[in-house]
Symmetry: C2
Subunit: 412 residues, 2 copies
């Protein structure tokens, strides 16, 4: 008997969860990813802000799956999908499938203004994180040797576009760096010279959370010296700074934390998508007319029982990954499909040292207790005992000494 | 009273040791480096072979010197030195000095064949180390998806050129990766498919050590599956492999560990150098006719009392840095100069897990005991308590589990 071929595109939260649950004694499994590692994206902003090293939050997909005897991992890029021939095209080869799980994730989106990316990098990959880290440290170095006051202000102004969880976390962490933890190493400027500005188009930050939580987050950020500019849109980003609907900000440091766009691979499926490029999937996460193709994670759009679109978070992707793997296992054993149901375990965002906000099962939590919960959940979900240990040590170390560990400029 | 101006070019072992010892209440001190970090080069091969993260062996120069109130750190490149005007030219500015300590280090040298660098990267900086690490892991990934047997061999053959300490350490570590620690994650090739070849022009590896030590090192390497080709020179390196005086080796992985050339900045001093570009310095490390200019570390050439050239190692650079700083302190207090005397504390090279060779004060040591000594010395000399702790944890972890921690491809 030849086994059915299952291909999983993407080794993120969705794809990896599926790969772990699929029974590879019933099928030949192949996982394809452009990078060699699974990335723990919720902590990516800590790499970007010199708190953690890349290796602390990334682990080779190959080593995670090395106990699966019939699961292959391939470092390659899926560039096309032929639905009728059931083939995935890679850069120099192609692979046939019986089941296909598409979990390619999303990139940040500049709403059609891709030329902004050069000046306002986003944060999705390790490369992005290291780029942002080097930009921040380099700006402080440039400010240190700059004598012209206007240029110094430009180097010491940090603008974060987008007040969602990533933007809020970045703004808090950059405020800590520039105003507290490393400022004492510099002799040519003072903490007050550094400006951290968070721009949000909506009337409040964290607008997917409850209003009370947004208020608290804004209070924390303000106390840390972050200036929050709300109801404001970005109209242009260039080498001099950011043009907003509320005026121009001179800066050489813009970070983009606004808007996502599903991976371009999704377009190859030729299925209707929403404005963010996400495919409207059936309630078993398959796509219309092709029950053997599933799209999961933040490249798909699915609504819960109340008509609310599921967020593009790790828990949704993981639950979908496991769900789809179980469907395939069941179908190979001749059993029927079920319907995906998301179990919401809550939502947290951290804002600087020992402060966080969030809601868990209807309860709002704030401050140290929220931060402790945030920390333990993130350590728990990190893959690999050593990574958990290392990250815990880094956090304890930082908590005690206020020193950030990875302030390196490695690139040329 | 205006203080005398001391400029230190380079934040490596030599420059940093000088900066720590110089009394900056007697002088204005400026440290200039192209990178923002001091790098613990003796462990660089462990970053290149996925055992350690960049942040484990590098620390911002700024933070090391932040308790020195009158010492400035500048991230910039010294591109010229005007000896008569006593000025150092940076990229966009210039600085005057009364004393100048030149400690720019060296790069690897291709004996005039710079076109080889593209195919045979060397190992001097963090960027080099990360490049080599990604090349090694990428080759294993390519071998995994390659079906053509000849291409597979090409990807799985690793050639290290140069059997000095760096070459020996790299060969041992790559043998461990390719034949032992991560091979079980790959399903399309076996440990024996991986070939590690060490090419040495002399009749033995580690030729600056005693013969007996070379023999032992070769024995260890052979036992680990490293093929040692001696009395052999490299004639060409290209995309297909390496042409040696003993035949052609097909490979896509060549690492260069042969030959050093002092930093090009040294040429700007217009003083006679040896073939490796090192300046012949006076016995107080100053250069002829310019007692206010010192050149230290592996950009200088100095002989000991027996007429033997001091090696380009960290201990020599550190001792010279401290020595020169003391000369300046003394001279500013009106005291005379002394003569540099190197105290040789021994020499160790490590070869894979829990094995090393070396000589300490005339005694030869081998095996586990040498490795324990090597480990403790390297941890002791690492800067920063946290780095010591982290590296120790990584080594213990690796010793127990045989898992390498940082097998990431971060670049695109």
């Amino acid at each position: 008997m030849t086994l059915k071929k299952v291909i999983i595109i993407g080794g993120g939260f969705g794809g990896l969860s599926a790969a772990k649950v699929i029974d590879d004694s019933l099928s030949d499994v192949t996982v394809i990813d452009k990078t060699n590692h699974h990335l723990f994206q919720p902590l990516l902003y800590q790499v970007a802000t010199a708190a953690l090293s890349p290796a602390d939050i990334a682990i080779p997909i190959r080593s995670i799956l090395n106990n699966k005897r019939n699961t292959k991992v391939i470092l390659d890029e899926a560039i096309d999908i032929d639905k009728s021939k059931k083939i995935v095209k890679l850069k120099n080869s192609e692979l046939a499938y019986d089941y296909l799980i598409v979990a390619p994730g999303s990139r940040h989106s500049y709403f059609g203004k891709n030329e902004w990316e050069k000046y306002a990098p986003g944060l999705k990959t390790l490369t992005d994180a290291v780029t942002i880290r080097e930009k921040i440290i380099n700006s402080l170095e440039l400010a240190e040797k700059e004598n012209d006051q206007l240029n110094k202000i430009k180097y010491l102004t940090f603008v974060i576009v987008g007040g969602g969880p990533t933007g809020v976390e970045l703004a808090g962490a950059i405020a800590e760096i520039a105003k507290k933890t490393i400022i004492k190493d510099y002799k040519n400027f003072k903490p007050d010279d550094a400006k951290i500005i968070l721009i949000e188009a909506f009337p409040r930050v964290l607008n997917t959370f409850e209003e009370k939580i947004s208020e608290r987050a804004e209070k924390y950020l303000s106390a840390m010296g972050v200036q929050i500019i709300k109801n404001t849109k970005v109209e242009d980003v260039n080498s001099s700074g950011v043009q907003t609907t509320n005026g121009f900000i001179i800066t050489s440091n813009v970070i983009w934390a606004a808007g996502n766009q599903a991976s371009p691979l999704i377009q190859k499926l030729n299925i209707p998508t929403d404005r963010a490029g996400r495919i409207f999937v059936n309630d078993d996460c398959s796509i219309p007319d092709y029950p053997e193709i599933f799209v999961i994670g933040d490249a798909s759009q699915l609504k819960d029982d109340h008509g609310k679109i599921l967020p593009g978070t790790a828990p949704v992707a993981m639950q979908q990954g496991r769900f789809v793997a179980k469907i395939i296992n069941a179908e190979l054993a001749g059993k029927p499909r079920t319907k995906f149901k998301y179990i919401d375990k809550g939502n947290l965002a951290t804002i600087g040292k020992a402060k966080a906000v969030g809601e868990i099962k209807g309860f709002k939590i704030y401050g140290l207790i929220a931060w402790l919960m945030w920390s333990s959940i993130h350590i728990f979900y990190l893959i690999g005992f050593k990574n958990r240990f290392r990250v815990m040590i880094e956090w304890i170390w930082y908590y005690i000494t206020n020193k950030r560990g990875t302030r390196l400029i490695v690139g040329k």
